[in-house]
């Protein structure tokens, strides 16, 4: 009998300690970074457990809403429709801006093109321009390789260029598949997280410099330009949490702001936020 009571207390105790777990869910862009941060954090505070999972920004926010996550990683800002849902449930949201990401546009290294105007890019991605002939002296059709429309990267490119993607754009399963396709397809153009091309090999692909009407061509690999905010396709990475949970998630958020946290962000292929 005593033994059973002991088991029960253990069970209840383990439930309690379970409350010390911070559940982080969301963006696939951020998931690798969040895992490294969580591991390093756990080395220092082993009283708090952090579980990290991906699935996409939308899933993270939905999980935060229905209570299965404490922090929602999101590579886009929350949209109005989602905000309404939080309001309906009377949940106050707080935002933590913890790193920056840049999106690189890649083409095959056989394509004689080094930089591109955002206007031309918008025309290409929306399907208004279907052939490279207007940009270079080659008459080849353009193949677009993008992410699936559940990806934060997809949403971001769509919003910042203010376009609807061409229905002919292929939707690939991830960054790796996009790069592989670009390597094989000299008429392709695709977009991936800059962190992904920074670490990987760039054999067979070329990262385009981007320029706008009033700025010079900037490469996403130029850290200083990103820090000064002058690359067109850079985006903040957010972590959303319920305001009422602030005390619970604070230790982890604080860790992300330390020198160690910042250096992890940098070495993972992202850009720390300049304050």
């Amino acid at each position: 009998m005593k033994y059973i009571i002991f088991c029960f207390t253990l069970l209840i105790y383990s439930c309690n300690s379970n409350k010390g777990t911070i559940k982080v869910k969301g963006s696939d862009t951020e998931v690798n970074l969040a895992v490294v941060l969580a591991e390093k954090f756990h080395d220092k505070n082993d009283s708090i457990l952090i579980s990290v999972s991906g699935g996409g920004s939308g899933l993270g926010i939905a999980s935060l809403l229905n209570g299965t996550a404490d922090i929602a990683n999101s590579s886009r800002s929350i949209n109005d429709e989602e905000l309404q849902l939080f309001k309906k449930k009377n949940i106050q949201l707080s935002t933590f801006f913890f790193a920056q990401d840049a999106i690189a546009f890649v083409v095959s290294d056989q394509l004689p093109l080094d930089s591109i105007n955002t206007k031309d890019l918008a025309k290409i991605l929306s399907g208004d321009v279907k052939n490279w002939s207007s940009l270079i002296k080659q008459d080849i059709p353009i193949n677009i390789y993008g992410r699936q429309n559940n990806s934060g990267t997809y949403e971001f490119v769509k919003k910042i260029l203010n376009i609807h993607f061409s229905a002919n754009a292929k939707q690939m399963n991830g960054n790796a598949q996009i790069l592989e396709s670009i390597k094989a397809d000299n008429s392709g153009i695709g977009y991936v997280g800059a962190g992904y091309v920074m670490k990987g090999t760039t054999n067979g692909i070329k990262i385009l410099k981007i320029f706008t009407v009033n700025s010079k061509a900037v490469s996403p690999l130029d850290e200083e330009k990103i820090a000064s905010g002058s690359y067109f396709f850079q985006r903040p990475l957010f972590q959303y949490y319920k305001t009422q949970d602030y005390q619970k998630v604070k230790p982890f958020l604080d860790f992300e702001k330390t020198m160690e946290g910042l250096s992890i962000i940098k070495s993972s292929g992202y850009y720390p936020v300049k304050k």
Binding site: G58, L59, K170, N186, S187
Partner: protein, 292 residues
């Protein structure tokens, strides 16, 4: 006493089986009503006319199922064009011509095809079939309807072969004997007597294979490129209903138009598969009658 005990056991088992049956039916009914309820929520927000006639699936602005249905049809019909002749001829070979020893080896091998996980087949589509298609047809990328069709035909083959073989086996021996006695050779007997006699069973095989192809998700998601335009030919990328649901369901904000739209296309897929499976069942039943 003993008889009483047996009556009680009998009653308990009867109730047990009854509950199992009712639970299954209730579950199916529940799924059906959930689909229906959410679909209705969608059609309250958007007109069904746009849904069925528009030409663009672009969440938040345009919800039209047409490109998805055309894509699904391309992949499913394409896979049947490949799998049906291959499957029926294989079945005919196994049941009519193969020596007993070979039969014993071939049947389990074919059934093993069904055990390959769809992710593995999809992966083959990306790394093996895709590059081959792009070289063969001189196109830039091999992730298209043809790729999906070939992979799905591989996945539908076990179903088609197994059921066709049963159908051909079920043709009474007297038919073949009569044909041979009249002087027809083996091939004439197969093509003019045995296969025509087995047609209801073969249709059932095709329908069930088609049902398999329509519902397959992972393989087509990986291998068809997922471009939501209405495809013009088999070398265009396509995006099936199943892939659309799989891609978007994880991300969609709950209880929004987009969320309901996914239920609406799921209901349509459900209806299509239901009709095809019912047709398959109907022909399979005719086969059973014929068997008696």
């Amino acid at each position: 006493m003993n008889a009483n005990k047996r009556a009680i056991t009998d009653w308990i088992f009867k109730q047990g089986f009854k509950t199992a049956g009712v639970v299954t039916i209730a579950l199916l009914g529940g799924i059906f009503f959930m689909l229906l309820y959410n679909s209705i929520s969608f059609f309250i927000k958007r007109s069904p006319l746009d849904f069925f006639t528009g030409s663009n699936w672009d969440p938040e602005t345009n919800y039209s199922i047409l490109p998805l249905i055309v894509s699904t049809a391309f992949v499913a019909i394409g896979s049947m064009v490949i799998a049906v002749p291959l499957g029926i001829l294989t079945a005919a070979y196994i049941s009519e011509f193969a020596p007993k020893k070979l039969q014993i080896i071939l049947k389990p091998i074919i059934e093993m095809l069904a055990a390959i996980p769809s992710v593995a087949i999809g992966f083959l589509g990306i790394v093996l079939l895709g590059p081959v298609i792009s070289v063969l047809f001189g196109i830039q990328n091999g992730l298209n309807a043809l790729n999906g069709s070939i992979l799905l035909s591989v996945m539908a083959l076990p179903t088609i072969i197994t059921i066709s073989e049963d159908a051909i086996n079920a043709v009474p021996k007297s038919h073949r004997e009569a044909s041979l006695a009249l002087g027809a050779n083996k091939w004439e007997t197969l093509f003019k007597v045995t296969i025509p006699a087995a047609v209801p069973g073969l249709i059932a095989a095709v329908m069930l294979g088609l049902g398999r192809a329509l519902g397959e998700t992972m393989t087509v998601l990986m291998a068809t490129g997922n471009a939501a335009a209405i495809p013009k030919n088999f070398l265009d990328s396509v995006r099936t209903i199943t892939a659309t649901i799989a891609i978007e369901m994880g991300e969609v904000p709950y209880q929004t138009t987009h969320y309901f739209a996914l239920f609406a296309i799921a209901s349509i897929l459900f209806l299509i598969t239901l009709v095809i499976n019912l047709l398959g069942e109907y022909f399979a039943n005719r086969l059973r009658k014929f068997h008696q």
